[in-house]
């Protein structure tokens, strides 16, 4: 059934379709209507889940960990400062191999106090062992919640899906809500191999000495190495069932492109609009959408960008003292492997921090700059900065 729906509620309905057992969330700013809707669905009996209202985001993740360890399907949502407060437990939940799913609404971190969109909050959690997916529209948001459980439970790793504040979270657009039976056939009930069970006791969170810790870390990385293929299949299978396939990276007009935009989130949608305009004028611009950020889809990125001459990475984030984060990651994926990917010039643009509006003209300016310049002259090209 198609409905006009805001991004926040697309998350809520994704969680409902996934038949989550436990939702634990802190309800105060920077929280969104994601959990407001879920609490109403639970209170009205439209959802058979336990809603736990906790006193902080740290406690929200702790509650999800308990629920997940006991064999429940756990969900939470947060944003910016709330995600930052969870940081310790993000490591704990991935180390504990708990397939929790969390939605993060990309908001800028304060101070200065700001609730508008920026990607730094989620990207700053890149080393926590969580998978990360960035969404382009509200349909993808709903679908990604469901696919996230499919992926998380196969890997025994937590998954974060990310949506831009306001541009998706508070924007209404058409969303197709799949039939529950269809999702039930895609996502069977969660049956963990090991769970907290008084009849079959195990030790959880025990001390691990240097004799074993190293290998446990290796196993986590080994699982991450499998994640790209698991995620790709999950998207493919979803497409077969629901009619909307997804991949971990998605090329658009890439094959013959002289300039390739690399972006994530709603910057992708704006880029598509600009690419369509340029293509009408006969200018060969293409796109590589980074849907999955962790694990970084290195292999696919290398394959798809092999032989490209110029790449424009658009970052709505910054690693202070370094550069835009997608820019760093892309360079790390493409260079130093002697794999014949060629040596494209990579231009790193930073734009729209703290929710400053990104227009089609801004994206066109990025494309023009990249077309015009022979090679990149600086690691950060600031777009729209008032100097």
């Amino acid at each position: 059934m198609k409905k006009v729906m805001m991004g926040n509620h697309a998350v809520s309905y994704g969680a409902r379709l996934s038949r989550v057992d436990v939702i634990a969330a802190y309800p105060i700013t920077p929280q969104t209507q994601i959990v407001e809707e879920l609490s109403e669905l639970c209170a009205d009996g439209k959802m058979d889940a336990k809603f736990i209202k906790v006193e902080s985001e740290h406690s929200a993740m702790a509650s999800c960990m308990g629920a997940s360890a006991a064999g429940g399907r756990a969900f939470t949502a947060t944003s910016s400062q709330g995600l930052a407060l969870m940081h310790e437990l993000l490591h704990f939940s991935s180390g504990g191999r708990l397939p929790i799913v969390m939605a993060n609404v990309n908001r800028a971190l304060g101070p200065g106090w700001n609730i508008w969109t920026e990607q730094t909050d989620s990207l700053a959690q890149r080393d926590t062992g969580w998978l990360q997916f960035y969404c382009e529209n509200n349909q993808e948001v709903l679908d990604t919640v469901i696919m996230s459980y499919k992926i998380a439970e196969q890997l025994s790793l937590p998954v974060m899906l990310v949506l831009d504040a306001f541009i998706l979270s508070h924007t209404y657009e058409i969303v197709d809500i799949p039939e529950q039976e269809l999702i039930d056939s895609y996502l069977p009930p969660y049956k963990p191999e090991i769970k907290m069970d008084v009849d079959n006791p195990h030790a959880f969170g025990a001390l691990v000495t240097p004799d074993h810790y190293f290998e446990i870390r290796y196993k986590l990385q080994e699982t991450m190495d499998k994640a790209a293929e698991v995620a790709r299949k999950a998207g493919e299978e979803y497409g077969e069932l629901v009619g909307r396939p997804y991949d971990i990276v998605e090329p658009y007009m890439l094959d013959d492109a002289d300039v390739v935009i690399v972006a994530a989130g709603t910057l992708v949608s704006n880029s598509r609009a600009v690419i369509n305009e340029y293509r009408e004028k006969g200018i060969k611009v293409g796109l590589l959408k980074l849907r999955m950020f962790r694990p970084f889809p290195t292999k696919r990125v290398r394959e798809l960008l092999a032989g490209k001459k110029k790449i424009a990475v658009i970052d709505r984030n910054i690693s202070f003292g370094a550069t835009g984060i997608f820019y760093q990651e892309l360079k790390a994926a493409l260079y130093g492997h002697g794999n014949g990917a060629g040596s494209p010039n990579i231009f790193g643009f930073i734009i729209g921090l703290g929710g400053r509006d990104v227009t089609l003209e801004d994206i066109a300016e990025i494309v023009d700059y990249t077309l015009e310049k022979e090679k990149n002259e600086e690691d950060i090209i600031w777009m729209g900065l008032k100097r």
């Binding site: 198609k2 609730i115 504040a165 924007t171 209404y172 657009e173 949608s269 990104v358 089609l360």
Partner: protein, 194 residues
């Protein structure tokens, strides 16, 4: 693509109006996108909400700077904010006011329509007399003047999106459809009667 901006005051229902309008267009097979002013809302402060409508998937995700038409929910906003900002020449300005279109001479570059949505809302018991809820009424007037969307679609969307007093909201919308006044030099686009 059509882009519309709705001006209101915090608490007046501009965001709900944008959602109802988006739903009405969706019912007619259009692609839609609607969103509020991004940020924090204070009751009584000037706010805006936006709608994009197109025959194909809407990819642009920036703010709306050059709307085709504007809806003004509160007559006092005409003097408080520049409701014509970026408005395309010849675009509609639909104002909730008891005044006549010809009284808005300073806006003569645009097509003016007025409707006493506050009076209509109060008559149908929507909100209070001091604080009428005008968002459903004014959408009926919008359907009439622009002809972009059928009144039936607006009424259907109201029935789905408004949680209470559905009948009163529908009646208010119909009455605004009938009673909206337009600049006399403009021909009516919508011929359908409620």
């Amino acid at each position: 693509m059509i882009e519309i901006r709705i001006h209101g005051r915090g608490g007046q229902g501009a965001v709900i109006a944008s959602k109802i309008l988006a739903s009405a267009f969706f019912k007619e097979g259009k692609y839609v996108q609607s969103f509020p002013t991004f940020g924090v809302e204070r009751r009584g402060a000037p706010v805006a909400a936006f709608i994009r409508i197109d025959d194909k998937q809407i990819l642009v995700r920036s703010q709306i700077y050059k709307p085709d038409d504007v809806i003004v929910l509160d007559p006092t906003l005409i003097d408080a904010v520049d409701v014509t900002q970026g408005l395309k020449s010849g675009g509609w300005i639909l104002i909730n006011t008891t005044r006549e279109p010809k009284e808005f001479e300073k806006l003569s570059e645009f097509r003016i329509a007025t409707v006493d949505a506050s009076g209509i809302a109060a008559k149908h018991g929507l909100g209070s007399k001091a604080h009428p809820i005008v968002n459903t009424a004014i959408l009926g007037a919008f359907a009439r003047i622009t002809g972009f969307v059928k009144l039936e679609s607006i009424l259907e969307a109201i029935t789905e999106e408004v949680p209470f007093a559905r009948k009163a909201n529908v009646e208010a919308s119909k009455e605004a459809f009938r009673s909206v006044k337009m600049q006399s030099n403009v021909t009516l686009k919508s011929k359908s009667e409620p």
